[in-house]
């Protein structure tokens, strides 16, 4: 026993190393698999507040750019308004279209923390459960798809960015509706993504628009990017191609969280079904 104690005190550095290393690993693995260690992240009070302050300062520096973006978006929205009015008045048969409009609700949010230069990037936004945000909702910006919500607190939420090794969105080529998956490439370039598993009949062209498909958690047709090169590396039986992402993640400031109204209804129905059983 005494020898053991002497041994431990002699090599105390190693044992301390083991203890603390194991602690760190437990935290790391736990967080990665369940997102349970929620207190050590940027939604807690201290870090969240500090990020808020820093972001306020940063906001002033980019006012001009934000204004430009808002003007552009206003123009785009106005265009949409006109076109939708036009369709409504000309043919009232488009019932499906009007249903579509009611299905999705947009909540605007401000980005208060963001990164693009790591292998797995997350975005913190300043809206949470109090504003009706829940886990699993899609997030877009004025330019295109940004990511999906993975963790929500009362006032803030964390979004798993498209620039993440586990993020995969169902996408399609805008013209011929060929479906594939969009994910972030291995080169860690924040402007490039990969569109994979596209059917061999697709015949894509460079510059073609890639949008979200009906199978994703987004409304169909939200831009993801444009095909930039047809010979991406990898790829077995299906076509892979490189995509220039539509969103500039390094300049992200305002985003929209998409609430799918039918999702609640669906969940409610399913719950009832379970009760009946």
């Amino acid at each position: 026993m005494r020898n053991l104690l002497i041994f431990i005190t002699k090599y105390n550095a190693f044992f301390l190393f083991l203890i603390f290393e194991i602690c760190s690993f437990v935290i790391y693995v736990k967080y990665n698999s369940f997102q349970k260690a929620s207190f050590i992240n940027s939604t807690n009070n201290v870090t969240g507040n500090l990020y808020d302050r820093a972001d306020e300062l940063k906001g002033y520096l980019t006012l001009r750019e934000v204004n430009d973006n808002l003007i552009r978006e206003n123009a785009r929205l106005r265009n949409q308004l006109k076109s939708s009015l036009y369709i409504d008045t000309v043919s009232k048969k488009m019932v499906i279209d009007t249903n579509y409009k009611q299905q999705y609700e947009y909540i605007s949010a401000k980005v208060i923390n963001n990164s693009v230069n790591r292998r797995n990037n997350y975005i913190t936004i300043d809206r949470g459960t109090n504003n009706g945000i829940a886990k699993g909702m899609g997030v877009t910006s004025d330019a295109g798809v940004v990511g999906k919500v993975i963790f929500v607190d009362k006032h803030m939420a964390i979004v798993q960015s498209l620039l993440h090794k586990d993020t995969r969105f169902s996408a399609m080529l805008a013209k011929n509706k060929e479906i594939g998956y969009l994910e972030w490439g291995e080169e860690m370039n924040p402007h490039k993504g990969l569109l994979i598993d596209v059917s061999n009949n697709a015949q894509p062209k460079v510059g073609e628009l890639v949008v979200t498909s009906d199978l994703s958690l987004f409304p169909a047709g939200i831009p993801l990017g444009k095909v930039s090169s047809l010979n991406a590396k990898g790829g077995g039986f299906f076509l892979n191609m490189e995509v220039n992402l539509a969103v500039d993640f390094s300049k992200l400031q305002y985003v929209y969280v998409i609430v799918n109204r039918f999702a609640k209804e669906q969940a409610g129905l399913e719950a009832q079904e379970k009760k009946d059983e």
Partner: protein, 172 residues
């Protein structure tokens, strides 16, 4: 004694702030990202007890993790860093020299020793950090490029900060 504590406390806060609000946003070609905050562990006094050293490294890692949204990742790397520091110092520094050499800074230990010290410790820390973050071997080549370029950047910043405070001490 209290002076040492205050200096280290100020250093801790300054380095974490610098890391989180400035260096986090810097990356050259998405390959080279500096992690200067580990300088805090490097500059702790020689005579610090091992328990305190590991505890401080762990807390530093967790603090940075809180801002980076990666609980445990930086903490694990910092604890490894502390362990490598203990080994490196026990190999290269003689114990009776502790009285007049309180801290392993650039101005006290000389350029050559400090450069090796910083380089070895940074390489260990970054290697562990990047591989733990990626957690797959298929991107090893890319990870290694990032590792080397980031280490060069970090060590460069360490030397710059060392030289900055080097001058200040001589003027006194």
């Amino acid at each position: 004694m209290s002076r040492v504590i205050i200096i280290n406390l100020v250093r801790f806060i300054l380095l974490v702030f610098l890391q989180v609000f400035l260096l986090k946003n810097i990356s050259l070609y998405n390959l080279s990202t500096p992690y200067l905050y580990i300088l805090f562990v490097l500059l702790l006094p020689f005579e610090i007890p091992n328990v305190l050293l590991f505890l401080l490294a762990f807390i530093l890692g967790l603090t940075v993790d809180a801002f980076y949204d990666t609980p445990g990742l930086h903490a694990a790397s910092c604890v490894l860093l502390a362990f490598v520091r203990v080994l490196f110092i026990s190999i290269t520094v003689q114990k009776d020299g502790f009285d007049n050499e309180p801290e392993p800074t650039l101005s006290i230990m000389g350029f050559r020793w400090f450069l090796t010290y910083a380089l070895v410790l940074t390489l260990f820390h970054h290697f562990f950090l990047f591989n733990l973050e990626v957690f797959r071997f298929s991107e090893l080549e890319y990870t290694l490029t990032r590792l080397i370029l980031s280490s060069v950047f970090t060590v460069f910043l360490m030397l710059v900060s060392g030289l900055l405070f080097f001058r200040k001490k001589e003027r006194k």
